[in-house]
Symmetry: D4
Subunit: 223 residues, 8 copies
Amino acid sequence: MERELRLPHSTLDLDRAGRIGQPEVIYGEGKTAAHIADALEAIAAAGGFAFATRVRAETAAAVGEQLGGRAVYSADARVLCLGTPPVPVGQVGVVSAGTSDEAVAAEVERCAELLGNGVLRVRDVGVAGLHRVLARAEELRACSVVVVVAGMDGALPSVVGGLVACPVIAVPTSVGYGASFGGVAALLAMLNSCAPGVTVVNIDNGFGAAYAASRVNLGRVNP
Amino acid sequence: MERELRLPHSTLDLDRAGRIGQPEVIYGEGKTAAHIADALEAIAAAGGFAFATRVRAETAAAVGEQLGGRAVYSADARVLCLGTPPVPVGQVGVVSAGTSDEAVAAEVERCAELLGNGVLRVRDVGVAGLHRVLARAEELRACSVVVVVAGMDGALPSVVGGLVACPVIAVPTSVGYGASFGGVAALLAMLNSCAPGVTVVNIDNGFGAAYAASRVNLGRVNP
Amino acid sequence: MERELRLPHSTLDLDRAGRIGQPEVIYGEGKTAAHIADALEAIAAAGGFAFATRVRAETAAAVGEQLGGRAVYSADARVLCLGTPPVPVGQVGVVSAGTSDEAVAAEVERCAELLGNGVLRVRDVGVAGLHRVLARAEELRACSVVVVVAGMDGALPSVVGGLVACPVIAVPTSVGYGASFGGVAALLAMLNSCAPGVTVVNIDNGFGAAYAASRVNLGRVNP
Amino acid sequence: MERELRLPHSTLDLDRAGRIGQPEVIYGEGKTAAHIADALEAIAAAGGFAFATRVRAETAAAVGEQLGGRAVYSADARVLCLGTPPVPVGQVGVVSAGTSDEAVAAEVERCAELLGNGVLRVRDVGVAGLHRVLARAEELRACSVVVVVAGMDGALPSVVGGLVACPVIAVPTSVGYGASFGGVAALLAMLNSCAPGVTVVNIDNGFGAAYAASRVNLGRVNP
Amino acid sequence: MERELRLPHSTLDLDRAGRIGQPEVIYGEGKTAAHIADALEAIAAAGGFAFATRVRAETAAAVGEQLGGRAVYSADARVLCLGTPPVPVGQVGVVSAGTSDEAVAAEVERCAELLGNGVLRVRDVGVAGLHRVLARAEELRACSVVVVVAGMDGALPSVVGGLVACPVIAVPTSVGYGASFGGVAALLAMLNSCAPGVTVVNIDNGFGAAYAASRVNLGRVNP
Amino acid sequence: MERELRLPHSTLDLDRAGRIGQPEVIYGEGKTAAHIADALEAIAAAGGFAFATRVRAETAAAVGEQLGGRAVYSADARVLCLGTPPVPVGQVGVVSAGTSDEAVAAEVERCAELLGNGVLRVRDVGVAGLHRVLARAEELRACSVVVVVAGMDGALPSVVGGLVACPVIAVPTSVGYGASFGGVAALLAMLNSCAPGVTVVNIDNGFGAAYAASRVNLGRVNP
Amino acid sequence: MERELRLPHSTLDLDRAGRIGQPEVIYGEGKTAAHIADALEAIAAAGGFAFATRVRAETAAAVGEQLGGRAVYSADARVLCLGTPPVPVGQVGVVSAGTSDEAVAAEVERCAELLGNGVLRVRDVGVAGLHRVLARAEELRACSVVVVVAGMDGALPSVVGGLVACPVIAVPTSVGYGASFGGVAALLAMLNSCAPGVTVVNIDNGFGAAYAASRVNLGRVNP
Amino acid sequence: MERELRLPHSTLDLDRAGRIGQPEVIYGEGKTAAHIADALEAIAAAGGFAFATRVRAETAAAVGEQLGGRAVYSADARVLCLGTPPVPVGQVGVVSAGTSDEAVAAEVERCAELLGNGVLRVRDVGVAGLHRVLARAEELRACSVVVVVAGMDGALPSVVGGLVACPVIAVPTSVGYGASFGGVAALLAMLNSCAPGVTVVNIDNGFGAAYAASRVNLGRVNP
């Protein structure tokens, strides 16, 4: 029988790790510090470790206070964790196109680490200066899976998808203005990538890309 | 140095298999029989095997004539192949929501096979009758990667994503009418899946999903 | 002849209860406290009871002052009422997918109560952990009508629509980011639900869903 | 345990009537005559009665041949049924705005009848000549539920929603051109109806509206 | 030869009144008080009268100071004028659907007056309570032109268009939420009005509607 | 009391001429020849004259046969009329941007004539060669109302709106390809016209523009 | 004074070559053979040379007959010309991403030639196999202007824009399916190109790109 | 070999000037003062000159402090430069439609200057008063390239494109409200311009237009 925990404001799915190999992760956007702290404690109590994404700095500080300083906050990734994360295995490549995509790339990297994956960082290698990504191709070919983060024209995953054999997961970012429509231009470009087998997650969904990459990497490391 | 072949109408990328582990596949939509036949021969000559997707029955027949009957056509998947496909290894699960999604599911299955993967078929298990997909959960948990094909509300990948630990790739189909907007409703639902780590390909892109699944499965079988 | 009341800023439809069985309800968004207070008094004077939706806390406080503390405010639902609400009869099920959908679910519940309906609350039972909603199926089958509140992929109404025989009303919420487009993804998924006979209201329209549910429940309890 | 039937091309949900009170109905669009005939027979064998929607005249003729003339076809509604439909009870009002909305209105009416409901027809009463719908208000007030079918500006449900107390279900039609965007204008107008408690189904989804109306009417007649 | 005036920040079209019968009007949104004051003075100097729309209260106060108190501000319409407006002739009907549409209706009314038209105000007569607009039909039939202001479902112009013989100009407002998409739902409904000969202006464009109405009314009064 | 006529397939509004000064006009799209013929006869019987728009040549021929040759068909405008049209008075200017807009311009012209208006034709005067429209400005200034028909960039109404004092009604056409989106580009440009007081009708709605122009012109000629 | 020629169906702008350096070109889509033939003759009579785009093969044949075989048709580009084209000078690079973009690339090339430009063809060099375009970089750097034609992800202009110093004009094509939305994905990617100074024309507008390139090249060759 | 510089937060492309003739320019939106200052110094160190766009006044002040006052800020254009800009050659015409488009026009002008081009300013010459732009036609014909900046209906580039022979680059601005959709209306109008050979950049992309114009002008001045 499945275990679930009914808190006043949520019904936690405590058996998710058993079912799908990874814990329930808390989406912090719009939640109160108390809510996040309670959920972190409940999940960590059941599995030894928990984390929340999209946590603003002030909220993180308030959660930290409630938890007596046991929570660790990564400001650039806006991720807050409680307990001892797993030892990283394998390697997930995280490639980003421009300096403006850094926040999303940081979310991918931190979440991938907390889900138990090693990470290779390759930043600011947009296609308007191709030599930058070409110079890193060998390193990327050594990864189990590559996550490509790009806004604006969303062109980088098509280039990377033609350079590596492993799965490529594209994350459109909301970076841009005008006809970028908050990341829609990049999203559509990625869905229409001319490199075969590129898959896509929601705009700015760094966590989702990390989770998907983790499904690949952990299955590959421990098939 | 990279090898490429300039035909009158295209520039074939003969080293793609070397670079990304799988051959260039011909997108047959809107191409003439002569064009497809030439390209199949050129790729098969370089690597022993080639195939084309989105080939209509009449075009397939004409290609067959030009190639002296050596090409094999899968009518439901609209895929045409030349030469000896690789021996399938591992297992890709292909789940579809309704009978109307069958054409896209068939493209996923046939392409996955031709790219060297074993396939498990699970058809017509939409969420309005949940017991149908729940009855197949064990089989799906034994796969390296699961492709979920659905039109209309695109709800099935969220359910499957909560049942298995391996990568889940969602394919929206253009099945539906009115506010399905040719598959956009399903596409958006999948991009916003509440199950973490579901990735998405373009509407009706059965080939792309198969290719992505193959990147996962082959990397897992031969890490 | 129809009665109407011309206030300086609005023309109240005092016979609506006579015509369609339920009173005119005040939409508080963007209205001043004075405007809301006047309208509440006018409607309550005509029928003994009145309420307003989408009232911010500060506005509610100001209205309360003008009305001498006679108004009751439900903070989570942002609903303000004046006078004695009807005794609830029958039962409306209100199911929500995630903790982020709570505000809309609260509006549904409070409005349904104030319109004279009993309410069954089922919260945070999204489809990525199916056992949560399956565990509540029997309770839902005992309702006259079920309102399902969900953002992101909008998948829950399709699952609930396959579990109960009574009318199912879906409320998309604006919860999400990126390609959720402020609730459009959930709205489209619900309009394309694979469960037959699911109907839909506007994004975040908890009041509208409650009103529609009330049209069903009261007609069923007093046919 | 749930019963299901695996045909070569579909998995029929034979217990749906038990679970949600009404049988699985076949969506005929894009299905072959053989497929439709097989499914009709299987469902009718399990429950005594079955029908399919969106069946073209030629397909209906071919199904009729396979079933030895036992199927009955309603050409205006494009609905094909097999076996003895239930005796109609209660009354569903079906109101349409213009002569161009007739095909969708016919689908609503025929499906409502086949699902066991009585039907009141009110046609071509668009709001540019208000006296036409006002003349029918009393008849509509006697219904358990009213379905309003309209294209173009989608204004009729707002008028009807202000005239009756029972549930009002709006069906946008794809009638129109230019900025009607295949029914989107009407759909949006209906989702934003100024009459409270109007619910909406997909564009041209006459079947869905009938099914939803049937959930209301049958629950009201046999609470 | 056409006269124009090059200010540091704009090129005023001083002969517009000569060419098209009405003066250039200043669009105040985003302009500084100094810019508005200069332009008002220049136009008023050329023609005796000038006004600006979309002027915030603080900006109006600042302009007033610069002009030594000679400017008159209408707060509800956000219109600021300088000099003596023309004596109103004829009658423009201005009908609004809900109390939330009041700001736009006020802009229509004030601009119509300042352009030299008499105005009949009919407010808060939405179609969910039809008797309200029907009670005013005779008054509306006495106007030269009717402007109808509505948000949400945009249904009111279709009803008014069926009641009067004169030109009907529809103004969609951005009132609403969710699938109203900032007035797009109302705009589309109005463009698809089932009442023939309804014309439409941009969302919230009260000034444009007043100007168009003025083109009709003044041409009718002085043909 | 209002007169209406219930035909088998429609409810004709015979008092519309009394209420709004102009007869009900039949929208021929998708209607059968028999339906159109019946409706023409019924309206002509009540008022001496009737016409239908969007009638294909073959349908017109079939209607002609049923009516014994009494109907007159204008092929370029696709308009079919029965009985003696009114004597034209006043003058409606009809300006079109390119030769591809001719079909819509013809509908405007023919409908305006049949509704009793004189017509001035000014064709193929797009803004890429400004001298063409400038050469006709004097003629246009003599009209009571000007209808401007344009596809693609929809720029012509902004130019004409700056040249004349009378009402200007813009008709976007679906002429174009790619990012014209079936006339949406022209529609948006017209709704955002920088010339004040331009009003807009639906894409390709030549009839609606003529009807609106007729509301203006007839009111001006007989105020 | 400007010369113009009023044909029965169009008003030709005979002085355009004088004003903007290049002749009026006939847009053949939807025009009859007679219309095209008349216009070609009129323009060629005024300037010695004329051509029409988007002419179908059958129409071209009919025009050819009317003109006594003097017209020359380029089937792949669907361009028909009459008279002696100018001698090409300078060099316009035309780069296309995939074999499916060939038809648009052919229109660019043929129109550029007929407008008096030399052309360098670089075909089928999409970014999934980067070495193909890198191998041609030197040749492209020798051009005065480069036109890049691409569908699907529209990534190629960003790569080319980073390789050359001259103007880069991007043409999105409608090639693709699903979320390519008829070329919108490519259009948006190009408008958001990360390579600075890339400009864009309408989807499939090969003629427009050629004309723009010609404005650059001819101005550069004869400044 | 290509030179690149890896700063902590970005990978600068120092050889871009060598490859494409113009330096990498820093996009300041969302970057910190420290980041901008570091990048300006690095690029200026490599090439003697650097600039950043979209820099807010406060950020510019902070950068100025870090750089010891050596940076020059243009407030209206929001551009910040370091070092000695090139001597301007040739002439780029910059035409804007309304006073609200001034900010974008200023960005075009300043960037064009800093990239080494002479600039001709023509402001506030919208098409509703045509004489304003016609009066400047001769000056525009003397430019190497013309940039046209317009919001709302985006009509001005079509008029200018018919007046000059040189390249015309259109910049849609986000000026407007309602159905301008943040500049989409102007963007679409420009993509569909009836004047041949107009090219378009992203909404509000003044920098991109200047860069594209510079590619044209510098190539023309030094072919």
